[in-house]
């Protein structure tokens, strides 16, 4: 047994709140020590972000999640212009520290890869940390890309405009012939400034922002937001609402995993599964639409409960249509595992080792495909998942096959969960009134979205309004995983590898 991490942090349960003053305010050396040791002891950096203080300094708050104990540990410190970076000793912090540098114009000294994440102007000073080397306005993907030189080495730039109907992002490959030596991913094209727009809330708009953080994860992000708000308001969600949230969260997973398996088949040119899964994804989306009228679950999850309830006839219709879609997806997906030419493409493509996964702190199916049992529904259960357990689906090979196969395992388990929950759906109210938020508190909310761990951190001010709101989409953790999965692979396998992660651009760019 490992030791319970970090004695210096404030430990809270997921879904609990803490007084802001109770979060240990450490010196920089202590803060680094606390975060680095707790991550070394098996914790995972779920959030690391800055928020402005009245003094003009920036308060850094770190949330380290320990899957073994199911506890979250919070520590904080203050910085002004620079501090010694955590990244050299704690690689999980690398993307977070780049974000902090970009947002708050604070320089993490010794960061090995200090480049903008979203290419926007700093929130503080009005002068970004990359000056004076880079004067003027930051433009997306205008940065010093890592370059490989030598004979037969060539550079391939892909995007931000892609051939398919997907989101914008820039990929810079350093290749030796067909082999990729290095891939650098540059995002930020979809930065909308959502987190800044949430400050001073919550307002009527807030929940709509949440549902559109990443359009394919509407239920996931809305649930994370509502959980944070409900914790701050010390409000208990009715059981029926918890179940309905769980059901739609799993329906979202079913639809997206099905779509991903179809897209993976399409990328290797295997038409049957691609065509059928495209249709069946729609069938799962339509189940969500049957509950709330929106295929993406908009309007369903609301602070205090759910916006739509289901009656008995609708439940039987849901069950019947679920069974039909499930048997369809089973036959479409089994074609994949029965076709040697498909397996030849999936296996040993884009392998991520378990060690890399742990070092980077990957989440979701990408982590479970490396054999890591990391699942918020299991480690930090909330809502219905405290009562109904879904087994964690893992596979050990870390390649495209593993990421596809984990999705298939999860499809089966999510469908079993939805079926079971629809059968035992308790009576009672599905929504209640949420009171005012308690002032000067911080709440951390975790949800296992279909891509992985969604982490929302809400901080309230003295009036009980949001003074800071941090959103961490699973893509934020996983983009670097994709870059490393592509190392020493064939460049022609990149689209397949990319699809096996299927990360969100807008969820990352916020």
């Amino acid at each position: 047994m490992k030791q319970i991490p970090t004695p210096t942090g404030l430990s809270i349960h997921h879904g609990e709140t803490a007084l802001l003053q109770a979060v240990p305010h450490l010196s920089m050396a202590e803060f680094r020590e606390a975060v680095i040791t707790s991550v070394e002891q098996g914790g995972r950096l779920a959030a690391l972000f800055g928020r402005p203080c009245e003094t003009g300094a920036v308060q850094l708050i770190a949330v380290v999640a320990s899957g073994e104990t199911g506890m979250l540990s919070l520590v904080s410190t203050a910085v002004t212009d620079a501090y010694p970076a955590l990244t050299p000793e704690c690689p999980q912090a690398h993307w977070f520290e780049r974000e902090i540098a970009e947002q708050w114009s604070v320089r993490p000294e010794g960061h090995p890869w200090l480049k903008p994440v979203r290419f926007h102007a700093a929130y503080r000073h009005g002068q970004h940390v990359w000056s004076p080397a880079q004067d003027g306005e930051l433009l997306p993907s205008v940065t010093n890309f890592f370059r490989v030189a030598g004979e037969e080495v060539h550079e391939v730039a892909v995007g931000p405009v892609h051939a398919g109907i997907i989101e914008p992002g820039h990929f810079r490959f350093q290749c030796h012939g067909e082999q990729v030596l290095h891939l650098e991913i540059s995002l930020g094209y979809q930065h909308r400034g959502v987190e800044r727009a949430l400050v001073g809330g919550p307002t009527k708009r807030t929940v709509h922002y949440m549902e559109t953080l990443a359009g394919d994860t509407s239920v996931g992000h809305a649930t994370a937001y509502c959980q944070a708000l409900e914790a701050l308001a010390e409000y208990g969600v009715p059981a029926r609402a918890q179940t309905l949230r769980g059901i739609t969260l799993e329906l979202e997973r079913l639809a997206n995993h099905t779509g991903d398996l179809g897209a993976l088949a399409g990328d290797v040119g295997y038409l049957p599964t691609a065509a059928y899964c495209g249709r069946i994804r729609g069938d799962f989306l339509n189940l969500t639409a049957l509950i709330c009228g929106s295929r993406f679950g908009r309007g369903l999850v609301r602070p205090g409960g759910v916006g739509f309830d289901v009656d008995r006839s609708r439940i039987s219709q849901l069950v019947e249509r679920l069974e039909r879609a499930l048997s369809d997806v089973a036959s479409a997906v089994s074609l994949l595992w029965d076709t040697p030419s498909v397996l030849a493409r999936f296996e040993e493509t884009g392998t991520v080792s378990r060690e890399t996964c742990e070092t980077l702190g990957l989440v979701g199916p990408a982590a479970r495909a490396c054999g890591v049992e990391r699942d918020v529904r299991h480690e930090f259960p909330s809502g219905i998942f405290r009562f109904a357990h879904i087994p964690v689906s893992t596979w050990h090979t870390g390649d495209v096959f593993a990421r596809a196969y984990v999705r298939w395992l999860e499809i089966q388990r999510s469908a079993a969960f939805v079926r079971e929950q629809l059968a035992v759906l308790s009576d009672g109210p599905s929504r209640g009134e949420l009171g005012a938020l308690s002032p000067d508190r911080v709440a951390v909310s975790l949800v296992e979205g279909w891509r992985g761990e969604i982490c929302h951190v809400a901080v309230t001010d003295t009036q009980g309004q949001l003074s800071a709101y941090k959103v961490i989409d699973p893509s934020f953790h996983n983009w670097m995983g994709l870059a490393l999965a592509q190392r020493n692979q064939q460049i022609s396998d990149f689209p397949l590898c990319n699809k096996s992660f299927n990360l969100s651009y807008c969820g990352h760019d916020l």
Binding site: H154, E155, V156, A157, V158, A163, G164, G177, E178, A265, D267, V268, G269, Y270, L271, P272, A274, A275, Y276, R279, T339, S341, V342, A344, R345, T349, Q490, I491, S492, D493, F494, P495, L496
Partner: protein
């Protein structure tokens, strides 16, 4: 006879895009879709011909020459390939070498037009195309050499009129190996699955498609039309080996051969529907395999 040959050449010019339509329709039906009409490739050609072309400032005359030379070379090749047992419009001893290098010429101009754009995508596609072409060519030549040995002639027309059902009875294994080798050549040269994926939108995985990304309007119509003709040409060779039916009546032979071509298109559609594309590093193995099959066939007939 010359009239029939001229008629067959006309048939190729008119029906070639139909094969593409049949392949697409087959794939759609297997995937449970209705799919585009079989005549869609004609509509696409018509649409493109009416459009203007856009040229990048980084391109030169080489880029504009590519599609024109490509189409011209394929048109000459059409005149060299016999169909339905009748000789081709042009036939002379040694025309098989001209045929192979006309296809080579098409490829050369497609590749330099692609390189002329300076795009990294097109460069990668060009590199893949020439690598694979170098591996396909031995299979084609060994196959043609086998036929030359069987029939004792160096003209494609004479060779293919020499293939008969009785020939299959005597040298069946050699013909079967040859047919298998030519099927792989057919799929590889026409950028079909398992070598290339004609429907993909992912530039990084493409071979043939990525080289013609920058062409537009009539230029692109020329490229699509020459690809369709190439599909017809290599298909005609394959059908000539598999279907050596000779009814004695010329028009019946022609109908059987056209039916064979449609059957081949359906077969291609089915192959594309039931297997994934090979990993790019595995493609050379398949292509070398085709050469080995053709070499074996040659050994069998030399014996």
């Amino acid at each position: 006879m010359a009239l029939v040959s001229a008629l067959h050449t006309l048939l190729a010019l008119v029906l070639a895009p139909l094969l593409v339509g049949v392949i697409n329709r087959t794939k759609a039906i297997v995937a449970g879709r209705v799919g585009q009409p079989v005549r869609q490739p004609y509509a696409d050609l018509w649409k493109l011909l009416q459009k203007g072309a856009v040229y990048s400032r980084t391109t030169t005359w080489v880029f504009r020459t590519g599609p024109v030379v490509g189409l011209a070379a394929v048109l000459v090749a059409v005149a060299l390939v016999p169909f339905g047992g009748a000789p081709a419009l042009l036939a002379f001893p040694g025309d098989l070498v001209l045929f192979a290098y006309l296809l080579g010429l098409v490829r050369f101009f497609t590749v330099i037009a692609a390189l002329d754009t300076g795009s990294s995508f097109e460069g990668m596609g060009a590199s893949r195309e020439v690598t694979f072409a170098a591996l396909v060519e031995p299979a084609l030549f060994l196959g043609l050499a086998t036929l030359a040995r069987c029939t004792g002639t160096l003209s494609i027309s004479a060779m293919f009129s020499g293939i008969t059902l009785r020939g299959w009875g005597q040298g069946g294994p050699a013909f079967a190996l040859l047919a298998a080798a030519f099927l792989i050549v057919f799929l590889a040269e026409n950028a079909r699955i398992p070598v290339d994926d004609p429907t993909t939108h992912l530039e990084l995985t493409m071979i043939h498609e990525v080289m013609v990304l920058d062409h537009s309007g009539p230029d692109f119509a020329f490229i699509l039309y020459s690809s369709a003709l190439k599909l017809w040409l290599l298909g005609a060779l394959l059908i000539g080996i598999i279907f050596p039916l000779r009814s004695g009546q010329l028009w019946l032979n022609s109908i059987v051969a056209v039916a064979g071509m449609v059957g081949l298109a359906i077969l291609t559609g089915l192959i594309e529907s039931c297997m994934a594309r090979l990993r790019l590093v595995r493609v050379p193995q398949l292509l070398v395999g085709a050469s080995v099959l053709a070499a074996l066939a040659l050994v069998l007939v030399l014996r």
